[in-house]
């Protein structure tokens, strides 16, 4: 019979594993006899299938071997012995233990960080008692030919409709953001941000009141509920209930004090204003209750436990369809989504609080996993390499009666112990990393606190156990298979060198990963620098943007103009190129489309050095309501095909913006209104009326910047004593607009650093080991006349080839990854520089050479007489 005519080996193994020893032999024989018979009658394929089925069919109570309690018991007794031997081997091999512990500790600290982050993200909103019954209303907004937009916000009407028609909804609450103003109590003023919330708000969410009646606190118009902190700030220790608070000329009454919010709440507020207030104020505004007014209201619904959602969703779809019928070219539809995971639902727009994409957590876990895996490789590699030394120990154990499982247990226990030691170190590293991570970006410290809880500590220990088992599995398996007799007779019989392939592969993987991360960091850093250096189409140097915060810009501008270092002051509604947008509808002939908008004054364009292709800047300040001029960019001409795209001829053409006819008086060169992730789109400049919202742009002389900033602040103080000045350098603002990139580069850079450290540690261990074991060979070669250079080459060769292989894999992979996958998403990216890819390789190679070189030179310089004397 040919070797291939055998029954499937795994099935036989399975049988051997579960079957009682007493029954095994004849069962195997029977199955084999039947198999042979079936091969003849039904063919090999069928016979094999029948064999497998029969093996599974034999899995009956009477065939399954009983767990050997005695053995289990022995395992427990032996743990003491395992601990002892593990400690001995740790102490005896100080270098290897140190390499292993440091490697695992460093990699695990990243794992701990990721665990802490993910636990924090997952415990958002856990404090709500009815948390799993709260659902939020999500809006899908489709506008003509644009892609649909998913919003976390919805219309006030949606809340009303759900309250009226959805049978299962126990409570429906609507709240709205955007209340901001200066609260006046007595003679003091407090700038505050708040949300409008209706009476059901305190019923749906668990925000307990420390004072006041939760059932009625938000019922009346002009009622306030303060957080404890705000209450203390405004009233000190006095009881605030019933006290009046003035906003502008309107008086509000405090009706409740809510306990300070837990940090991990996606809804955040310092103060609640009763929703009835805004209803009273907005009553005359016609669009407040419109179905398509979906931008700043939030509706949350408390459903019964385990609700049948499908009928509710279809009900909502029906309502959406009815309501959307009123609009010609847009549709607004709503649906319910569980509140849990609101923070990880990053792809929605208009989120209530902080939100990130779940992709981020996946990427973070992926990076941590890669790093931990790399450290596990080190452990595996070094342990297997050391097997020569330990195989005798295993051999003796086996001869005095240790089973395979005992040896396996011993080595697994050892690796878990090492992982636990590493956990102690890595916890220290974690505390340091945590601080650095939180300081990386204000958004991060806003999102997570990384406070340790009992749960996180448990996860940490679980991680250490897992790492220990993962790292120790292969060596343990390897040792458990050692044949005791062969080892005791002659160590060289050990199948050590069969493992070399695996070890080489692991080293190549480690180095490929390290090189990839390094190249990724360099490419990413260059892209980030490129974004900052990018020519936006206008000047941002030495410009300070100051938020008006409700002050009259004219008065403020006069104050600033008196400062000698200030060259020029202009006004604008918003700051371009930072990723915020103001939209408007432009109509030319029959064609209408969305354009981006900024309101500016006549100083804005010269100050920012916008290039006029044709026409002139704004000259005259229009009287209120008599605005008649507009400046457009090239894209507007292109999009609407005005004057066949010729800037000169476009002058004097009339366009309609938000219902107002405006004459084009100038055409400017295209510039980046949004961030560089977006393409250049049509933009218009209108003349700003004297609105208190918006910014002053102050161009200052370079020189004593801190001094100038101080003077700006003094000037601000003269006009506004309440609000601290909010002044930022334009370039700094651009930098923070791209902060997520710098955060990413820093994180990947750090990972690259760790990866290379761990890989280097591993390589170092391997080099030390190889040179040690080859010491005698080297000495003999030396005695026979080999040169030192030749010896170094002899020792390095293997490692060099591995490094070259990893470089050959890593460089094209990085190039492909960035060129075809990442940078595709950025229309204005820098080309990838070959230097970026190679620089990392050179550095890593140098490092590796240094390590290999120092060890091999040491070995090659050894006095052969000393080494060979003992033989």
């Amino acid at each position: 019979m040919k070797a291939t005519d055998q029954p499937p080996r795994w099935a036989t193994r399975f049988l051997q594993w579960y079957c009682r020893p007493r029954l095994l032999e004849d069962l195997e024989g029977d199955l084999f006899e039947y198999f042979e018979r079936n091969v003849k009658n039904k063919g090999l394929r069928r016979a094999r299938i029948v064999y497998v089925i029969d093996v599974i069919k034999f899995l009956r109570p009477y065939t399954i071997r009983k767990i050997e309690f005695f053995n289990l018991f022995i395992h427990w007794i032996m743990i003491g012995s395992y601990l002892k031997t593990s400690r001995r081997s740790l102490v005896r091999n100080k270098l290897f233990s140190l390499i292993n512990i440091i490697g695992l500790a460093v990699s695990m600290s990243v794992g701990l960080l990721v665990i802490a982050v993910i636990t924090d993200l997952n415990s958002y909103d856990d404090f709500h008692q009815e948390g799993d019954r709260i659902y939020r209303v999500i809006t899908t907004f489709r506008n003509a030919d644009q892609p649909p937009m998913e919003l976390a916000s919805t219309s006030v009407k949606a809340g009303q409709k759900i309250r009226e028609t959805v049978a299962g909804a126990e409570q429906v609450t609507t709240f709205r953001n955007g209340f901001s103003g200066d609260a006046r109590v007595g003679n003091s003023t407090f700038p505050l941000e708040a949300i409008w919330a209706d009476n059901a708000f305190l019923k749906v969410f668990t925000f307990p009141l420390v004072k006041g009646n939760a059932a009625t606190a938000l019922e009346e118009p002009y009622s306030l509920v303060l957080s404890e902190k705000t209450a203390r700030k405004m009233f000190g220790e006095a009881d605030p209930i019933g006290k009046p608070v003035m906003f502008d000329t309107t008086s509000y009454v405090v009706r409740g004090v809510v306990k300070d919010l837990p940090k991990l709440s996606h809804i955040r507020f310092e103060m609640l204003v009763s929703f009835a207030t805004i209803e009273a104020q907005q009553a005359e505004k016609t669009n407040f209750y419109d179905w398509d007014n979906v931008w700043s209201n939030y509706v949350y619904v408390l459903m019964p436990a385990h609700p049948a959602l499908a009928p509710v969703q279809s009900e909502l779809a029906k309502i959406s369809k009815q309501e959307s019928a009123a609009y010609k070219d847009k549709s607004v539809s709503i649906s319910l989504k569980p509140m849990n995971g609101a923070v990880l639902g990053g792809k929605l727009s208009n989120n209530v609080g902080p939100a990130i994409s779940p992709v981020v957590t996946w990427v973070l876990s992926g990076l941590a996993f890669v790093i931990i895996l790399s450290a596990c490789f080190n452990y595996t590699n070094l342990s297997v390499a050391r097997s020569l030394r330990r195989s005798r120990e295993v051999g003796i154990r086996k001869i005095i009666g240790a089973r395979k499982s005992h040896v396996l247990g011993q080595f697994m226990a050892e690796s878990v112990i090492i992982a636990m030691l590493a956990l102690l170190f890595s916890f220290g590293l974690f505390l340091f990393l945590k601080k650095e991570f939180l300081a990386l970006d204000p958004n991060i410290s806003d999102l997570v606190s990384l406070d340790l809880s009992f749960k996180t500590i448990l996860y940490f220990i679980a991680l250490a156990c897992f790492v220990g088992l993962a790292a120790g599995f292969l060596p343990a398996l390897f040792f458990s298979r050692i044949n005791a007799l062969l080892v005791m007779k002659d160590v060289s019989n050990l199948t050590l060198f069969r493992r070399v392939g695996m070890r080489k592969a692991l080293i190549v993987i480690q180095y490929t990963l390290s090189l990839f991360f390094i190249a990724a960091t360099l490419v990413g850093y260059n892209q980030y620098k490129g974004l900052l250096r990018f020519d936006l189409g206008f000047e941002t140097e030495n410009i300070v943007n100051i938020r008006m915060q409700g002050n009259k810009p004219d008065i403020m501008a006069k104050q600033f103009a008196e400062i000698p270092a200030v060259k020029e002051v202009s006004r604008s509604l918003m700051i371009t190129s930072l990723g915020s947008y103001h939209g408007s509808t432009l109509k030319y002939g029959l064609d209408s489309n969305n354009v981006w908008l900024n309101l500016i004054d006549e100083h804005y364009m010269p100050l920012h050095d916008h290039k006029l292709l044709a026409g002139t800047n704004f000259k005259l300040k229009p009287e209120k309501g008599k605005e008649s001029e507009v400046i457009v960019n090239e894209q507007v001409l292109k999009r609407f095909n005005i004057a066949k795209r010729n800037p000169e001829n476009a002058l004097g053409k009339v366009v309609t913006v938000d219902g107002q006819a405006l004459t084009i008086i100038g055409v400017i060169r295209d510039f980046h209104y949004g961030t560089l992730e977006a393409k250049i789109e049509p933009v218009i400049f209108r003349y700003s009326a004297n609105e208190p919202s918006g910014y002053l742009n102050v161009k200052i002389a370079s020189g004593d910047l801190p001094g100038t900033m101080e003077m700006l602040e003094t000037a601000w103080r003269k006009v506004d004593k309440v609000h601290p000045i909010q002044a930022k350098f334009y370039n700094d603002q651009i930098e923070s607009a791209y902060s997520q990139f710098s955060v990413m580069v820093k994180i990947i850079g750090f990972i690259a650093f760790l990866a290379i450290c761990i890989a280097s540690l591993g390589l170092f261990g391997m080099v030390v080991f190889t040179t040690e074991t080859k010491l005698k060979e080297i000495s003999i070669r030396k005695v026979l006349g080999a040169s030192e250079g030749g010896l170094v080459y002899f020792l390095c060769e293997g490692f060099l080839i591995l490094l070259i292989v990893s470089a050959l894999i890593a460089i094209p992979a990085t190039y492909f990854f960035f060129d075809k996958i990442v940078l595709e998403n950025f229309p204005y990216h820098q080309p990838i520089n070959m230097l970026e890819l190679l620089a990392g390789v050179v550095v890593v190679m140098l490092l590796a050479f240094l390590m290999i070189g120092s060890q091999t030179v040491k070995a090659a310089r050894n006095n052969p007489a000393k080494v060979l004397k003992s033989e």
Binding site: L23, E25, D26, L27, E28, G29, D30, L31, F32, E33, Y34, E36, D54, K57, F58, R60, Y62
Partner: protein, 111 residues
């Protein structure tokens, strides 16, 4: 020991063991059973019955000599133990007693 009752299939298997004399091992028993009864005897079922018979003390088993067939695995041969013989004889007597008491006409029409 769970009851020493002899089930119907157990009885068949035990009888087959007896009839095969020294050649009674699982595969042969299966084949023989198929021949006698005309129904397919699954190896798994037969095996578990053999195991049960042995547990009840109605059959004894021993491993045969190793040979090159069957992947080199030895066969387990079964023989009827004394208790088995007693059980078989007893069950035969019971049946014969009942047969003897059936009035002649009672079964004739139904076949």
């Amino acid at each position: 020991m769970k009851g020493t009752n002899l089930g119907e299939f157990e009885e068949l298997v035990l009888l087959t063991i007896a009839s095969l004399a020294s050649e009674a091992y699982s595969v042969a028993i299966c084949d023989e059973l198929e021949k006698y009864t005309g129904r397919t005897a699954k190896l798994g079922v037969v095996h578990s019955v053999l195991n049960r018979l042995e547990e009840k003390g109605l059959a004894k088993s021993r491993l045969g000599e190793a040979s090159s067939t069957r992947g080199g695995k030895r066969k387990r041969f079964y023989e009827v133990s004394h208790a088995g013989k007693v059980a078989l004889t007893k069950s035969k007597e019971v049946r014969e007693n009942i047969w003897r008491n059936i009035p002649g006409f009672n079964l004739e029409g139904s076949i």
